[in-house]
């Protein structure tokens, strides 16, 4: 198996910052670290297992209903995760509310099945799915770290900024809780990445 399969999604071909997929959910669930981590884990499992099964079935899937079969597979895993969250992590499932169901529409999942799993063996497909999920999750966690720290002064719900700072006039940034600021943060990450990775910059 080529090293690129599990290395690229983290930096060189990161699904969020390079492929610009899954932006909607990365704005919506990154106000706090805990839901962001759960979302990252859920997406990783969904991309991994739906890629694995799509790859196992790749030679049997009728070409004309290819996309529908992919959708059925993806929704199967999304609903499984939703059901497990409702049973074992009820609070988190309430926080994520509709966004778990919306993993089905996360372009990363279908994108990886269509671009990779349908043309590759099961094991590399599984690794590719997991790596892409983690690459997405990594961005989510970075965003959530800054948004929770600067927006609520907490990490994982525990207060980090001491009360004495607040008394000295420090204030939580209310703007950073809002989705537009998350988009600006994503933009900053893309900027930093492109200043390191010159080949991503389009020629004029």
């Amino acid at each position: 198996m080529k090293k690129e399969i599990y290395k690229n999604p983290f930096f060189k071909a990161n699904p969020v910052t390079v492929l610009v997929l899954g932006i909607c959910s990365s704005l919506a669930v990154t106000v706090k670290l805990e839901p962001a981590c759960v979302m990252a884990l859920s997406v990783t499992l969904v991309t991994g297992f739906s890629s694995l099964f799509a790859s196992l079935l790749r030679n049997t899937i009728p070409n004309r209903i290819r996309i529908i079969v992919q959708l059925v597979l993806v929704s199967l895993f999304v609903i499984l995760i939703d059901q497990f969250l409702k049973a074992f992590a009820y609070e988190v499932s309430k926080q994520l509310s509709v966004y778990v169901g919306l993993i089905i529409t996360n372009c990363i999942v279908m994108g990886r099945i269509e671009a990779f799993a349908l043309g590759n063996k099961p094991w590399p497909s599984f690794v590719d799915g997991i790596a892409n999920g983690l690459g997405y999750g990594m961005i989510l966690v970075v965003l959530a770290f800054f948004r929770e720290l600067l927006g609520s002064g907490c990490l994982f719900g525990h207060q980090i900024i001491p009360d004495s700072w607040y008394e000295a006039g420090y204030m939580n940034n209310g703007l950073i809780i809002m989705p537009p600021m998350a988009l600006i943060l994503v933009g900053l990450i893309i900027w930093i990445q492109r200043s390191y990775q010159k080949e991503l910059i389009e020629e004029k």
């Binding site: 030679n59 049997t60 899937i61 009728p62 070409n63 004309r64 209903i65 529908i68 079969v69 059925v72 597979l73 199967l76 609903i79 499984l80 059901q83 497990f84 409702k86 049973a87 074992f88 009820y90 509310s97 509709v98 809780i177 809002m178």
Partner: protein, 273 residues
């Protein structure tokens, strides 16, 4: 094999869907007990929140058993009442779950509601100081999905003791703010009667004037949710009103009876003298 023939495509899709449906059905059935337990815990917790109890639930090690213990300790009675204010047969708790409240709300919102079919849950809470508070649920349609909540009244059936609200999918930061203590804490101390008229609690846009006993501040940016909540509270309290009146009448009677016994005792003593 030709994977592009019509027969193959149809058979393939049927098998796929049947297999996936079977897996999902199995998982759903085997996890439903746990899921229902979570919903029940949440409902118990909300009922306790509405009487300002169980505030430390999130710090508790085993939340489910903590909530259940607190619930069993404080909620001393629960029953169903009809719109005439009489108690009827049945378990109150399943009716206080969001699904149970919805079944009652479905009756209320019909064009010509058959209100005699309503069975509304009442929870009696005995506080640490021995005073009695009763909890009444409300349910209505918010902007995106259902909103519901629990309001507790002191035993004058007029003064609000506390309230808590829940929602399924109101906009975070706007309508969803009804679920925050910041909003629900405003309800404590408000009154629902003006003289003999039930005026309920209004959710006032632009801030409630100082000293208004029947209003709370609405949520900016959450007008539709605020208005829906106001309507839900009015609707449900109106249906509970006969119950309030019966309870007050019964209380007055008991008080009168108690007074007359003390009077006879007094007379008797006087006679002795």
């Amino acid at each position: 094999m030709n994977t592009n023939s019509n027969t193959y495509t149809v058979i393939y899709s049927i098998i796929l869907v049947v297999v996936v449906a079977a897996v999902l059905a199995f998982v759903s059935v085997s996890l439903s007990d746990r899921q229902n337990a979570n919903v029940a815990t949440e409902t118990r917790q909300s009922i306790l929140y509405s009487v300002n109890l169980a505030q430390e639930a999130d710090q508790a090690k085993d939340k489910n058993s903590y909530i259940e213990a607190e619930y069993n300790k404080y909620i001393t009675d629960s029953y169903l009442v009809n719109v005439k204010g009489d108690k009827v047969e049945g378990e109150a708790f399943p009716m206080a779950l969001a699904s149970g409240l919805k079944s009652q709300y479905d009756i209320m919102k019909q064009a010509n509601p058959d209100v005699s079919k309503l069975t509304l849950p009442v929870f009696v809470c005995t506080l640490d100081d021995g005073s009695r508070v009763e909890i009444f649920p409300i349910y209505g349609a918010g902007l995106w999905g259902p909103i519901w909540g629990y309001i507790s009244l002191k035993d004058d059936y007029n003064t609000v003791y506390g309230a808590t609200f829940l929602h399924k999918g109101e906009t975070p930061g706007l309508g969803a703010e009804i679920a925050t203590p910041h909003f629900s804490n405003q309800f404590a101390g408000k009154t629902i009667f003006e003289g003999d008229n039930m005026v309920s609690i209004s959710v006032v846009k632009g801030g409630v004037p100082e000293g208004d006993m029947h209003g709370v501040d609405a949520i900016s940016g959450g007008t539709i949710t605020s208005r829906a909540l106001e309507n839900a509270i009015r609707q449900w309290l109106t249906d509970y009103e006969p119950y309030f009146e019966k309870q007050l009448a019964a209380k007055a009677q008991a008080q009168a009876a108690a007074d007359s016994t003390t009077n006879t005792v007094d007379n008797h003593e006087e006679g002795n003298l």
